[in-house]
C-alpha cells in the first residue's frame, strides 16, 4: 500500500489537473484596458467540450468583427472562460467568482437549460446581466424570466413554432382530415419537457389536429436507445418528433438506422438535429429525407457574413462550426452593441433599455433581415430555416447537409397560417 499510493496520487493529480488548462482562457482586452468584463460559462472539457471550444472561437470572431467594424464608441471587452463541466454547482460558483474577483458585469454562455435556470437566479441576485447563448428552454424567457436575462440564440418555442408550421404545410394535408399520429422522444430534463410543451401549443396554434401516440424520455447521455426505438416502431406513427441533441442525437440515429425505423415514419428534429456537430459525426450514416433544423447552419443563408463566419472559423480551427459558435458570437455582439449605445459606465437600467431595443445583423440572418430583441420575453427574434437531409460533400466530414429549405421569419410565424383547414 505504502509503495503504490504515491503513484496513484500522482496519477490522480495528473488526471484531475488536465482540464484546468481551459479555466485560464482569456480573450480581448487586458484587465487594465477593458471597458467591461464578460464571464463565459461553457463545458470546455468532457462530453460537451466541443460546445465550449467552438464558443471560444465564436467569441474570438466576434472580437475580430468588432475591431474590423471600428464603430465609434465600441467598448473594449475582456472575455473570460471557465469550464462549467456541465455541473450546476460549479457554474453557480464560477458566476460568483467572475463577479466578485473579476468584476464581470456580464455572464454569457451555458449549454444546459437546467444549469441556465440556476445561473439566471444567481445572476439576478448579483445584479449582473446573463446573456444566454446556447441553451434553448423557453422557460427561461417565460415563467423564469427576470430583468437581467436575455438570450441571443433561438429558443425551443421559436423552433417548435416553425416546426409546427412546417408540419401544417408539408405533412398534415396528406392525412385528409385524419389527426396526425405523433410520437415524441426528448431528453429527460427541462429542455425536453419544454420542447414538447412548445410543440403542442404551436400545433394547437396552427390548427393541426393530432393524436399523441407515445412520449418517451430517455435520460441525458443514454447509450442504448434500442428499447425506445422498438417502442416507437411498435405502433403506427406518422411523425416522430425528436428533441435529442449533440451526442444523444448521434447515438439515436446510429442505432435507429440499423433498423427499419426511418421507413416506419417521418422523422423531424426542429431545434438541434442539423447542428454541424451531428452532421459531421454521422457522416454517411445519416439517412436522406430527415426533416431537421439547427440554430445556425454552415450552408444557409448564402450571405457574405455567414460565409465569412464559417470559413474564418474553419481557417482558425480546421473544422466547421457547431451552432454554439454563432450563439457565442451573437452574445458578445449583443453586449458590445448595448455598451456602445450606453457607454461602459451606464447603469443597469440603461443597459437593459439598450438590450431591449437591440438589433443585430448576424451570420444566420438572411439578406434583408436583422435579428431583433423581443422586449416582452428578452428573446432575440430570428429566422428559422428547416430543411431535409441531402447528400452534400462540400463540408467534410459531413456527407449529408440540409437542402429543400423552408424559411420562417418571426413575422410570418406571428401571423396564422393562411392554409385552408383540412
Amino acid at each position: 500500500m505504502n509503495r503504490s499510493m504515491p503513484w496513484l496520487l500522482l496519477l490522480w493529480g495528473f488526471i484531475s489537473t488536465g482540464p484546468l488548462a481551459y479555466a485560464a482562457v482569456e480573450l480581448g482586452a487586458t484587465r487594465q484596458e477593458a471597458d467591461a468584463t464578460v464571464g463565459c460559462l461553457f463545458p470546455m472539457s468532457g462530453r460537451g467540450g466541443l460546445y465550449g471550444r467552438d464558443s471560444a472561437v465564436g467569441v474570438e470572431l466576434a472580437l475580430e468583427h468588432l475591431e474590423q467594424a471600428g464603430l465609434k464608441n465600441t467598448p473594449r471587452l475582456r472575455v473570460l472562460f471557465a469550464d462549467s463541466k456541465s455541473k450546476a454547482s460549479r457554474a453557480v460558483r464560477q458566476v460568483r467568482d467572475f463577479v466578485h474577483n473579476e468584476q464581470a458585469r456580464f455572464i454569457c454562455g451555458v449549454v444546459n437549460s437546467a444549469i441556465a435556470l440556476q445561473v439566471t437566479q444567481v445572476a439576478q441576485d448579483l445584479e449582473v446581466f446573463f446573456i444566454g447563448t446556447d441553451h434553448a428552454s423557453s422557460s427561461l424567457t417565460g415563467e423564469s424570466l427576470n430583468e437581467f436575462y436575455f438570450r441571443t440564440n433561438n429558443d425551443s418555442a421559436q423552433s417548435m413554432r416553425a416546426g409546427a408550421r412546417y408540419i401544417r404545410e408539408h405533412l398534415y394535408p396528406d392525412k385528409k382530415g385524419e389527426p396526425l399520429r405523433i410520437a415524441f422522444i426528448g431528453p429527460d430534463y427541462d429542455y425536453g419537457y419544454q420542447t414538447w410543451k412548445d410543440l403542442r401549443s404551436s400545433l394547437a396554434r396552427e390548427g393541426v389536429r393530432y393524436k399523441v401516440i407515445k412520449t418517451l424520455w430517455p435520460k441525458l447521455y443514454e447509450p442504448d436507445y434500442t428499447t425506445f426505438i422498438r417502442s416507437l416502431m411498435s405502433q403506427q406513427v406518422d411523425l416522430v418528433v425528436n428533441s435529442l441533441w449533440g451526442g444523444d442525437m448521434v447515438a439515436f440515429v446510429q442505432q435507429a438506422v440499423r433498423t427499419d425505423f426511418f421507413q416506419h415514419s417521418r422523422f423531424a428534429n426542429f431545434d438541434t438535429g442539423a447542428n454541424y456537430e451531428v452532421l459531421s459525426a454521422l457522416g454517411s450514416e445519416l439517412p436522406q429525407g430527415l426533416i431537421l433544423s439547427a440554430r445556425h447552419h454552415v450552408n444557409w443563408p448564402d450571405t457574405k457574413l455567414n460565409k465569412w463566419f464559417v470559413y474564418r472559423f474553419h481557417a482558425l480551427t480546421g473544422r466547421y462550426p457547431s451552432y454554439a459558435a454563432e450563439g457565442a458570437y451573437s452574445g458578445i455582439l449583443a453586449i458590445a452593441e448595448a455598451l456602445r449605445q450606453t457607454g461602459s459606465d451606464a447603469s443597469n437600467s440603461e443597459i437593459r433599455k439598450a438590450l431591449l431595443g437591440l438589433k443585430l445583423h448576424l451570420p444566420e440572418d438572411p439578406e434583408g433581415f436583422d435579428s431583433y430583441m423581443n422586449p416582452q420575453d428578452h428573446q432575440l427574434q430570428q429566422v428559422i430555416a428547416i430543411g431535409e437531409t441531402l447528400r452534400d460533400l462540400r463540408y467534410p466530414p459531413a456527407q449529408m447537409m440540409l437542402g429543400k429549405w423552408q424559411v420562417y421569419t418571426p413575422q410570418a410565424l406571428d401571423t396564422p397560417s393562411n392554409l385552408p383547414t383540412p
Binding site: 500500500m1 468532457g46 447509450p223 442504448d224 434500442t226 428499447t227 417502442s231 448521434v250 440499423r258 459525426a281
Partner: protein, 298 residues
C-alpha cells in the same frame, strides 16, 4: 400481443448483458466480500477496447466475421489485464479491511479509471455497428429484432452455465466454495486463498469487460458508461442477493423486464421502476431474493 412480445423480448435482451456484468460483480463479492464499485469501469473498458479494436481491425479491410473474435479477445485480454492490475496493484494491500473501506477504495478506483478512459479514448462516442448488423434481423409478431441480440442471450446463458458448472462441478470451484464459506479455515487447510482471490477478481473483471465488449456494437460507447452500468448492476445483485449467481440471473430478468415494461407502457417511470423494485425487495427481504445462507459464529 405485439406489445407483450416487444416488452418480453426487450426485457430479456436487456437482462442478458446485465446478467453477465452482475455475475462478475456478485462473484467477486461472494468470494472476496468486496462490493467492487470499479466493476462498471471494467465494463466500460471492455466496451471501449472492443469498439476501438474492431474499428482498427475493420479499417484494415478484414472480414467482418472476424470482428467477433476481436471483441472476444479484447474482453479476455484487456479484462484480465485490468483486473490483475487492480487486484495486485491495489486491492491486495487492503484485504482484511472493513467492507465500507473496500467500497471507498473501489469507488476511488472507479473515478480514476473513468478519467483514464477519457485520456485514452477521448470524449467522443464510439460506434462499431458492423458486428451488430452482419447477422441480419428477424421478425417476431411483426417486430424486427437484431439476430445479434439473440446471440447475446445465448452468450449470457452460456456464461451462467459455465459459472454454475465451474463452481459446482470442478475441484477449483469446490475449493472456492470453501473460501466463500470460511477463508480462515480454508487457509489452514492449505488452500492458497490469495491466489483464489486473484483468480476470482480476474474472472469477475473479464465478465465485466466481456459484457462491455459484447454490447459495444449495439450501443453508443461514451464516457460515463461505467457509472451508469454499475448502478444498474448493483440493483440487480441487491434484488437477487449479494454473492448469488442464480440471484443475479433472476435480478437481471426482473430489472430488464420492469424497465422494458415501463418504456413501452409508462415511459415516465423508466428509471423509477428499477429502483422501485429494488426498494420493494429491500423492504421485504433485505438480504435479496436468493442470498447465500451464511453460517454465524457464536
Amino acid at each position: 400481443m405485439k406489445l407483450v412480445i416487444a416488452m418480453l423480448m426487450d426485457g430479456v435482451i436487456y437482462a442478458s448483458w446485465l446478467f453477465v456484468i452482475a455475475a462478475g460483480l456478485t462473484l467477486i463479492y461472494g468470494v472476496m466480500k468486496i462490493l467492487n464499485m470499479a466493476h462498471g469501469s471494467f465494463y466500460a473498458i471492455g466496451a471501449y477496447s472492443g469498439a476501438s479494436l474492431v474499428g482498427i481491425y475493420l479499417a484494415g479491410g478484414n472480414p467482418v466475421w472476424g470482428s467477433y473474435l476481436v471483441l472476444l479477445g479484447a474482453a479476455l485480454v484487456i479484462g484480465a489485464l485490468v483486473g490483475l492490475m487492480a487486484e495486485r496493484g491495489l486491492l491486495r494491500f487492503m484485504y482484511g479491511r472493513d467492507e465500507v473501506v473496500m467500497i471507498l477504495v473501489t469507488y476511488g478506483l472507479l473515478l480514476i479509471l473513468e478519467d483514464v478512459i477519457k485520456l485514452i479514448w477521448g470524449v467522443e462516442a464510439y460506434s462499431t455497428y458492423q458486428p451488430y448488423t452482419l447477422l441480419g434481423r428477424s421478425k417476431i409478431a411483426g417486430l424486427s429484432f437484431a439476430n445479434y441480440d439473440f446471440v447475446l442471450i445465448g452468450v449470457s446463458l452460456l456464461v451462467g452455465f459455465l459459472l454454475w458448472w465451474g463452481l459446482n462441478r470442478t475441484r477449483s470451484g469446490k475449493l472456492l466454495q470453501v473460501v466463500i464459506h470460511d477463508r480462515n479455515t480454508a487457509s489452514t487447510q492449505g488452500i492458497n486463498v490469495t491466489r483464489m482471490f486473484t483468480v476470482t477478481f480476474v474472472i469477475g473483471a473479464v465478465l465485466g469487460a466481456l459484457a462491455g465488449a459484447l454490447t459495444a456494437p449495439g450501443i453508443s460507447v461514451m464516457p460515463g458508461l461505467g457509472v451508469e452500468v454499475i448502478v444498474l448492476a448493483f440493483a440487480v445483485v441487491v434484488i437477487g442477493g449479494l454473492g448469488s449467481v442464480g440471484g443475479a440471473l433472476v435480478g437481471a430478468l426482473i430489472v430488464g423486464l420492469a424497465r422494458a415494461a415501463a418504456v413501452h407502457i409508462y415511459p415516465d417511470a423508466e428509471l423509477f421502476v428499477i429502483y422501485g423494485v429494488m426498494a420493494l425487495v429491500l423492504a421485504f427481504r433485505p438480504q435479496g431474493l436468493f442470498a447465500i445462507a451464511s453460517a454465524r459464529k457464536i
